[in-house]
Structures are given as C-alpha cells and as structure tokens.
C-alpha cells in the first residue's frame, strides 16, 4: 500500500465517474498532498456539494460531508468556526461553485476563513447530462446551448482576486505533480485558498465539441495551458483563450477569520462582560 492510500476509502469503490474522467486524478493528488503533510485522517473533513465533484468525498477515508448543491462552503464555514484547528477541505465543481454557489464563494473569499477549496472546472454540468455552466467557453455546444454558448465565462482567478481571496492558484489535470504541489501549498496556507483545476469532461462537453475521447480533450487542455511568464507576453486577444497556470495570489499577511475572531471579538466581549459585572457589583453596594 502506498503512503497516500490510507486516505482512500476503498470500501466505497467503484467510483461513479466515466472512464477517463479527471476527478480520479484530483482524488489522488489530494490524497498525495494529505500524505506528504502527514495529516491525521480524523483531523480532516472533506466537504462537497452536488455533481460529479460532489461524489469525491465519499472516497476519502477522512471525515466527509456530502451536502446540498453549491452550499458546501457554508457547511465548511460552520465546521471551521466550531473547530478552527481542523483541516477543512471543500471540493466543488464549476456549476456548484460559480452558479448556484457563487454568493457563498465570494463571501468565503472576503472573510478569508481558513477553508481549502479545490474548484474543479470542467466547463459543464456533467452529472445532469451536459448543460451549459458559467465556465463553459463561448461558442461551445452543450445540451442547453444547441446553437452555441453566447454567454462569456467567468475567469475564476480574476473573480477571486476581486473578492480578496488570499490564495488563488490554477492547475490542470494533465500535470499531476504540479497539481499535487499546488494543492499541498494551498493546504499550508492559513487563510481561504482556492485551487482551480481545469479538468476534462469528454463525455458531456467534449462529445458535442469534436473531442469525444479523453486524449483529445486533455490535448485541448494542454494547448490552452500556458505558464504565467508566457501568458504575460501574450496580447489581450490571445489571452482570452488561454488558461495561465500557477499561484496568482499568496497573501500571508492577512489574518485568517477564526484567528481574528479569537484575537479580537472574544477578548473584546470578555472585557465587556467584566465591565458589566463591575457595574452590577457597584449597584449592589
């Protein structure tokens, strides 16, 4: 048994994913990051919403919580506040995190609460059978855009930078080792972190856009992937069609939410309680 396998709950196998799906790669890279950081499995909780990505927690041999569509971050917020010392991981898909859960995403980023989010971007609603998502590229065909998608997609990194997230990174499922490294790095960050992982859904997105097998689709992802220095050299028009990878924001100065709560709110409230008690004692005399 390899080191990371103790974080895998084999009892719940097989997985529900299509052959060639990127979710398996992500499952493995997260488990590898756990192993390298030597986390105690019972100190971890993996929370997810609904969709193909939502089924990932079942396969971790850690505490796991499968919640409602788009709301995993809200549950994670409650857990992190109640147990600030635990490792709270959220796995979310693009529809989950940016459509139905968009509000929770920007507020978690704004609060800088120490949740580690893995945002799997396959550009489609996979589990429901291939409908357009807020991250589907323009002009792509899906089950609900039979004439091509006219809506522009969100840039997750730009969105989260604007929402003041303190750690933002992007990787792709094509690059397992850099993916594992960046996930590990995000786990070591104290505040809110998001790693956007570009993944392949050849079944539901690829099939309708001339990339019906996983090799075609991962090749397409590879052509879209550029490093940050390469990206900086591109003109604005060319940038629109590329996914730069790497760590974009890493703000270690900003205090994490639960740290702030226990350093600022609780002492202030306790001082107020003491003043109240003194006032009461004064009145009695």
């Amino acid at each position: 048994m390899r080191d990371y396998e103790r974080y895998i709950r084999y009892r719940t196998f097989p997985t529900p994913w299509c052959p060639g799906c990127g979710d398996g790669t992500i499952l493995k890279s997260i488990a590898m990051a756990f192993a390298e950081l030597k986390y105690d499995a019972d100190d971890i909780v993996v929370v997810a919403g609904i969709g193909c990505s939502g089924r990932i927690p079942t396969f971790f041999n850690t505490n796991t919580l499968h919640t409602t569509h788009g709301r995993a971050l809200t549950f994670a917020t409650g857990i992190k506040l109640a147990q600030p010392d635990k490792h709270v991981i959220v796995i979310s898909g693009d529809g989950d995190a940016l459509a139905i859960g968009g509000n929770h995403l920007i507020h978690a980023a704004r609060r800088n609460i120490g949740i580690k989010m893995i945002l799997i971007n396959n550009g489609i609603y996979g589990m429901t059978g291939g409908q357009v998502s807020p991250l589907t590229p323009q002009k792509f065909f899906t089950e609900t855009t039979p004439y091509g998608n006219i809506e522009p997609r969100f840039d997750v990194v730009d969105l989260l930078v604007a929402a003041k997230a303190s750690f933002v990174a992007r990787e792709t499922v094509n690059r397992l080792i850099p993916l594992k490294q960046v996930i590990k790095k995000s786990f070591q960050h104290r505040g809110f972190s998001v790693v956007e992982v570009i993944s392949n859904c050849h079944i539901n997105l690829g099939r309708k856009n001339r990339m019906k097998n996983p090799i075609d689709m991962t090749r397409w992802i590879a052509t879209k992937t550029v490093t940050q220095p390469e990206y900086d050299k591109l003109d604005p028009e060319a940038r629109r069609h590329k996914y730069p990878v790497g760590v974009f924001v890493e703000d270690k100065e900003r205090l994490e939410y639960t740290d702030l709560y226990y350093q600022h709110i609780v002492p202030a409230a306790k001082a107020e309680a003491e003043r109240e008690a003194a006032r009461r004692a004064g009145r009695k005399k």
Partner: protein
C-alpha cells in the same frame, strides 16, 4: 432571591437558548427576528463561543449544520422569507439527522408580505415546507414563561431525537416586552448526550423506534454524512429495502415518542361544552374570551397547543368524545382547522375564526364567535 426582568420576547428566547447551552449561532438579519441575532452576537463571544452573520439564510442554516456536526449546539432565527430559503437545508438536517433549533418569527405573507405585522400562516410550511416525507417537531409558545421553557425544550428534543426543531413565534409576542421571572439554574433540565468515541462507520445502525445517539466529526474515527439517501454507514444507496427502512427509522424516531413530544395547556376544559383550539397570540385572546364567556355562564374552555407538530391528535380525539363544539382560532386563512377537521368526528360542530390582515383578534371578537354556536 427571585429575579424578575422585563424582556422582549425575542430576547427571552435567546436567553433561554444560552441557558440551554447553545454555543453557536449563524443568522441573517430579518424583521421581526433580528434581536435574537443581535443578542447572540453580543453574548456568545463573552462565553468564548461563536456568532457569525452569513450572506443569506441558506448559508446560515448550512453553517449551523456544519457546527452541529462539529459538536456544537446551534440556533438560528429568521422570519417567513428567510424560513422559505432555509427549507433546502432543513431537509438536509432531517436527512442527515442533525440536531438544531430554528426560530421562525412569523410575519404576514406570502412573499415579503408585511414584515412588521403578525400572522400565523407558516404552520403548514413548518410541517411540509421542505420536500419529501420527513419528521418534524414544531413548538409554539405564547406566554413569556412558555417562551423560555419551550426554547429549552426545543434544544432538548433536538438533541434527543437528532432532528431539527422549529420554534414558531408570533410577531407581537416576539416584539412585546413582558415580565419574566428568571428561572433558576436548578429549575432547568438540559439534555445533552455528548458524543462518545466513534469506533465504526455504522452511525445510522439502530432499530426502528430507537432514538439515535449523537454523532460528530473528529471523534476518533472518520465518518461520512450525506444528504443523499444513505445506508447505516451513511453511504449513498438506492436499494429499495434499505431506503424504505431508513425512511421508517427517521419517521418512527419521532412517532414512537409522541407522549414525550406533544405538549399542550388546557384552561377551563373540565366541564367545557365549547372547546377553543388555538396557539400563540390567538390563544392569549382566546383565553381572555374564555374568561369572559364563563362570566356570562357559557361553558367554554381553551386547548392551547404548545407542540403544533406532531399535531396533538390523541389528546384532541379524547376531548372530542365529550366536547361536541370546537372553535379553531388562528391568524390565517385556515391551516390548523384542517387538522382539527381530520381529528374531530362527524358529530362535532366544527367552526373556525380566521383572519389574515395582520391584526390579532380581540377577546371580544373571539367571544362573539363563541356566542354564534347554537345554545
């Protein structure tokens, strides 16, 4: 020394929650329940505990479930529109069997309705608001002392049955300042069976009718909690036998313990010929009307439901063996009256005093309705 205080209804509930050892509150501002959140934001940090204002009511209940799974006793408070948003996670809490308490200070509806006016129109939403078959407990206090003790009871029931408990409050009661004799610590009994060490995944493994032990994360053995239908290990399943068993388990953990959960108060019921059935602010008007009727020689009595869900069917059925006239008094277009119609036999004269204009009944109005029964 007996300590008395004049307190707002909302504050009585919040105070009782803290006395019931509530140590986590996540909420979103909404009239007329905001005072509960305000009180908790002031008081919980004094105890080193957590308060958070979330981005909406869905998130509030989500955070509450997360905290409840991390060993906390949680409360949230809202009103109609927020309660509508919470239905999604209310279902999740029922499915995953999470103990938590939701206060719904009802206001005029539907939609934004009348934020500052009372209504008793969320009774059916409390029962059937979230989709799917589900057990629910809803309490409905009316007097200051009931507000306090029913809040404590709500926490105890949620802990014991591993189920969300809803406290329904009327806007006028929540906003009114009333005299309360602060109960002493020894007069309160708080049920809280802390999670023992977990040693296996079979957290939902129990017999039908058995009430479950509390299960939390981080108790020595990693567990899985799911909003999907699950088996005894918490793992998703669609196996018909397992699903049917889990549905029955969830329903029966409440319906096996009705005598413990269902609570009501009776006034002048011993020799009553006319029974008033009411709750909340309407019960207060009804009680005054009963006294007025008695003064005039009319033998009226009041049955005040403190537990509205599960409905006090058994107790009412017993009353209907003798009492053949019933008047349901409620501030809505008719909700509890349908439940009364289901319980009362055909020979009972069933009437209802209904209104949904944001104005509570006066005792005189209730008395007039009593007098309409043929003598």
């Amino acid at each position: 020394m007996i300590k008395r205080q004049v307190l707002q209804g909302n504050i009585i509930v919040a105070k009782a929650a803290i006395d019931a050892k509530c140590d986590f509150f996540a909420g979103y501002p909404i009239t007329p329940s905001s005072e509960i959140a305000q009180y908790m934001s002031r008081e919980l940090p004094k105890l080193g505990k957590d308060f958070i204002q979330m981005e909406d009511e869905i998130a509030s209940l989500g955070a509450c479930i997360g905290a409840a799974l991390s060993g906390r006793k949680v409360l949230t408070a809202t009103s109609g529109p927020g309660f509508s948003l919470m239905q999604e996670h209310l279902g999740m809490a029922v499915m995953a069997e999470i103990p938590l308490v939701i206060v719904n200070v009802m206001r005029g509806g539907p939609s934004t309705g009348m934020p500052t006016k009372p209504s008793q129109a969320d009774i059916m939403q409390a029962r059937w608001g979230t989709h799917g078959d589900h057990p629910i407990i809803a309490l409905y206090p009316a007097f200051a002392e009931q507000l306090y003790f029913e809040t404590i009871r709500a926490f105890n029931l949620s802990e014991k049955f591993w189920n969300p408990v809803i406290i329904l409050l009327d806007e006028v009661i929540a906003k009114a300042h009333e005299d309360l004799t602060i109960p002493r610590k020894k007069d309160i009994s708080v049920y809280w069976e802390k999670t023992k060490k977990i040693e296996d995944l079979n957290i939902y493994d129990r017999k039908i009718g058995q009430n479950p032990p509390r299960v939390d994360f981080f108790k020595g053995y990693p567990i899985h909690i799911d909003g999907l239908e699950h088996d005894k290990h918490g793992w998703p399943t669609t196996d018909p036998d397992t699903v049917q068993k889990m549905q029955t388990l969830r329903m029966q953990k409440i319906y096996h313990y009705l005598d413990e959960i269902v609570k009501f108060e009776e006034y002048e019921m011993d020799d009553a010929e006319i029974m008033l059935f009411s709750f909340g602010v309407s019960a207060r008007s009804a009680l005054a009307a009963v006294e007025m009727a008695r003064a005039e020689g009319i033998r009226a009595g009041l049955f005040q439901a403190l537990t509205i869900w599960p409905f006090p069917k058994k107790a009412l059925a017993e009353r209907f063996r003798r009492v053949k006239k019933v008047l349901t008094v409620e501030l809505n277009m008719g909700q509890a009256k349908y439940e009364i119609e289901r319980v009362a036999p055909d020979d009972v004269d069933k009437r209802a005093l209904l209104r949904a204009n944001g104005v509570p009944f006066t005792p005189a109005e209730v008395l007039a309705a009593i007098k309409e029964f043929p003598r």
